[in-house]
């Protein structure tokens, strides 16, 4: 019996759905599922619903203001920002590809069918679901104000959401390719923000130049209007005016662009799917160390740097520079927030490794427990390996910041102390979550490791709390007592280190009690 394209879709989607359901039951159990449901409902009521209502209100306001010249470009920015920003954010966090690479090759199904199934299955992921809901909320708001837009709103929704998922897949595949060529990526990403930063800082516009800039902004507005997302948004305005035929005509280019994006993404995924065996490098250097935890630290560093996700971490400081120079500076203006924000962003990017410290060891975790060393040495070694890694990341950022922004040494040293605070807090929590919710992380691919939902929520909560406490302390010092910045942040980092050290015996006891789970899950 031949399998139709619809049959492939139904089969893959069914498998994804069943796997997700099984995963939740396995990880949380009945009690955990109830707790998770309560957490999700609470988050929905306190965060998601107000946020979605705000998006709806924005859509309503824009739809009422369509007669103003600026309304369509602004609505375009909003819808485009949700799709493109959401796609990039979720792509950097690991992408949505779920099928094993063998699945793309072994079965008698077209690649395009499997690719389509992956896109649709991607809707069930956290990020696509979030940006899909946000787009829907905006469109509902628009439709309430201008009911005739309902005719084209489904098209706008599909274009936005599908493009977002495609960007997500594109970015995760691109990240994978970039990591394979890390020196090239580093070179390009290093010089771009530095060059841009230097140019912007040396730029003191005269009145004549300001007029030129205004003209350039108008051209940028025209380009935005002519872009696929601009045309898609204009179709809403046309539909609101009653020109339905023209509104539908405007979707020709957005739909064609979406197909082009799908084609480019599928090509990149095909490249990403070819698992090349890496040529053997130079013989390993002889490892020398005086104490077991130093050996484990070297092993951890080696493991992290041998993985794609670990190497990708060294591109993150560059991303943070681009972010604070570009989109964030446009949104909230340049100011004192950028140094702590950059250090926080870089620190948080390593949370997946901190909260799952044995993930990259995979089966190798057994070897750690075969060795005649104490579990305390393993935990200390892991901490030191991660400290080396995150310290190197922070140092890269510290070197880049003066090249891209005007910062003082005081601010940078304060930022390094801030990163240390984040590090110790993540490590304190990570020593518990790493043995209670272990999950293997691929060393050769940038694919998401299907992090348990509970761990994702815990990571988000930890990030928010750390940002509030340590980021808040940094900002207050920077604003009210700049001279106290380094002593206060240094003191906080020291306090976190002491707390980390004091909690080590408890973490050791916990790791011993949960060792079976760790071995069972990874070994």
């Amino acid at each position: 019996m031949a399998l139709t394209r619809v049959g492939v879709l139904a089969t893959v989607l069914g498998a994804h759905f069943t796997a997700s359901k099984n995963r939740v039951s396995r990880e949380l159990g009945r009690f955990g599922s109830v707790v998770m449901a309560i957490v999700v409902v609470t988050l929905l009521l306190t965060l998601a619903i107000p946020l979605l209502l705000s998006f709806g209100a924005l859509g309503f306001v824009f739809a009422h203001s369509l007669h103003y010249e600026a309304a369509v470009p602004l609505l375009t920015l909003l819808l485009g920002g949700i799709a493109v920003g959401g796609g990039i954010l979720s792509g950097v966090s690991g992408g949505a590809k779920q099928l094993t690479w063998e699945s793309y090759r072994l079965y008698p199904a077209r690649f395009s069918s499997l690719f389509l199934a992956e896109i649709i299955a991607g809707l069930g992921d956290l990020f696509p679901a979030a940006f899909g809901a946000a787009t829907l909320a905006v469109l509902v708001g628009v439709a309430v104000a201008a009911p005739r837009t309902l005719f084209v709103a489904p098209l706008v929704l599909v274009e936005g959401v599908v493009s977002g998922i495609l960007i997500q897949l594109l970015v995760s595949s691109l990240a994978s390719v970039l990591v394979r060529r890390i020196r090239f990526a580093f070179f390009v990403l290093f010089f771009t923000p530095v060059a841009l930063g230097a140019w912007i800082d040396s730029f003191h516009p005269s009145p004549a130049t300001m007029a030129e800039l205004e003209r350039a902004a108008r051209i940028a507005g025209d380009v935005l209007e002519a872009s696929p997302v601009g045309m898609s948004t204009r179709s809403l305005a046309e539909a609101a005016r009653g020109s339905l035929l023209h509104a539908f005509e405007l979707h020709a280019i957005p739909l064609a662009s979406m197909l082009l994006l799908a084609w480019i993404t599928s090509r990149l995924i095909l490249i990403d799917l070819a698992p090349e065996t890496h040529a053997e490098g130079a013989p390993g250097r002889l490892w020398t160390f005086d104490h077991a935890d130093a050996g484990i630290a070297k092993l951890s560093w080696h493991t992290i740097m041998g993985s794609q996700i670990g190497r990708f971490g060294f591109i993150v400081p560059l991303f943070s520079i681009v972010l604070i120079r570009g989109p964030l500076a446009q949104l909230v203006g340049r100011g004192s927030w950028n140094v702590p924000a950059a250090f926080m962003y870089v620190s948080l990017s390593a949370s997946s490794l901190q909260l799952n410290q044995f993930g990259l060891d995979g089966h190798g975790v057994k070897c750690l427990f075969f060795l005649p060393i104490r579990i305390e040495d393993i935990l200390r070694g892991k901490m030191r390996g991660l400290a080396l890694y995150q310290g190197a990341q922070a140092m890269v950022l510290a070197l880049l910041l003066p090249l891209a922004c005007k910062v003082t040494v005081n601010e940078i040293v304060g930022g390094l102390c801030l990163a240390a605070c984040f590090f110790f807090v993540q490590s304190i929590v990570g020593r518990y979550t790493s043995v209670s919710m272990p999950r293997a992380i691929s060393r050769t691919q940038m694919r998401a490791s299907s992090t348990p939902v509970a761990l994702v929520l815990l990571g988000m909560g930890l990030s928010a709390a750390s940002s509030l406490v340590f980021g808040g302390a940094y900002t207050l010092c920077q604003h009210f007592a700049p001279l106290a910045l380094v002593p206060v942040m240094g003191g906080l980092a020291l306090a976190m280190y002491v707390l980390h050290d004091r909690l080590t015996p408890d973490a050791v006891r916990y790791a011993l009690s949960k060792r079976d789970k760790l071995i069972e899950a990874l070994g």
Binding site: T11, N22, R105, P108, T277, A279
Partner: protein
């Protein structure tokens, strides 16, 4: 002993044709100008040390990776050019490639449906294969929680459930207990009797010697020898074993005792 639903192939035609195939990974040549023909209904074992190129050859033959140069045909067709051909091929990959968050039956349903099989046929064959391989997981046990041997079994079942005409097995006996090993051997021999072409890789000489009428020995990506067991025994010289021939071809001289023992 036979498994219901597995189709047969008339003997005499070529099931697998590897023609001057080379595979490079960067500077490393994994398979070097390999040519090999396997008749339909044959059972061939690819022998070699770790890194000899066995798994790479199998991955290219099954379309998992593309050769750098040369061509591979299965049943006279380039596997890249025909989706329909994949319906006739069963593969048990080296790392099994299972969807671990599904239960065994759920996974087999997914695989069966991907091959276009009707639901009732999938269920029937699954029950029969589970029984034959003595696989009895709990109804809600996920593959992630299976033992290594159970994962091997489910991977083998997934390779066979659609009744392929050519089956590729990458290290099928690794990590398998002796009882299951014997059952797998019986199933494979039964398939061969029915005309299914079988290609397996192993680095266990005894398994290949006892199971495969045809043997190919690879080393450093090159084909060092191939033929029937009798031909290879003949080549080894009167009274010499296949093991002796293998060591002659691929090296591996005894390095003597350990100095501290």
């Amino acid at each position: 002993m036979s498994v219901a639903g597995l189709s047969t192939e008339p003997r005499g035609s070529i099931a697998l044709e590897i023609d001057h195939v080379t595979k490079r990974f960067g500077d490393k040549v994994a398979v070097d100008d390999l040519s090999l023909k396997v008749d339909a209904g044959s059972f061939i074992g690819l022998l070699g040390r770790n890194g000899a190129g066995k798994s790479t050859t199998l991955k290219m033959a099954t379309g998992l990776i593309l050769p750098t140069s040369g061509t591979i045909r299965i049943l006279g067709v380039d596997i890249e050019s025909s989706l329909e051909l994949k319906r006739s091929v069963g593969v048990m990959p080296e790392d099994m490639a299972l969807l671990e968050m599904l239960t065994g039956p759920q996974y087999l349903r997914f695989v069966g449906r991907m091959y276009g099989m009707p639901e009732d046929e999938i269920a029937k064959r699954q029950v029969e294969l589970f029984e034959k391989l003595d696989l009895a997981p709990g109804p809600k046990t996920l593959i992630a929680d299976y033992s290594f041997g159970m994962k091997k079994k489910i991977s083998l079942i997934a390779a066979l459930i659609h009744g392929p005409r050519v089956v590729f097995l990458d290290e099928p006996f690794e990590g398998i207990d002796p009882v299951t090993s014997r059952t797998i051997k019986e199933i494979l021999l039964s398939l061969q009797k029915k005309g299914t072409t079988l290609v397996l890789t192993s680095h266990i000489l005894e398994v290949v010697e006892r199971l495969c009428p045809l043997i190919a020995i690879l080393d450093g990506g090159k084909l060092k020898a191939h033929g029937t067991l009798a031909e290879l025994h003949g080549a080894a010289g009167a009274g010499r074993s296949l093991e002796a021939l293998f060591f002659d071809l691929v090296g591996g001289v005894s390095k003597g005792d350990l100095s501290w023992l």
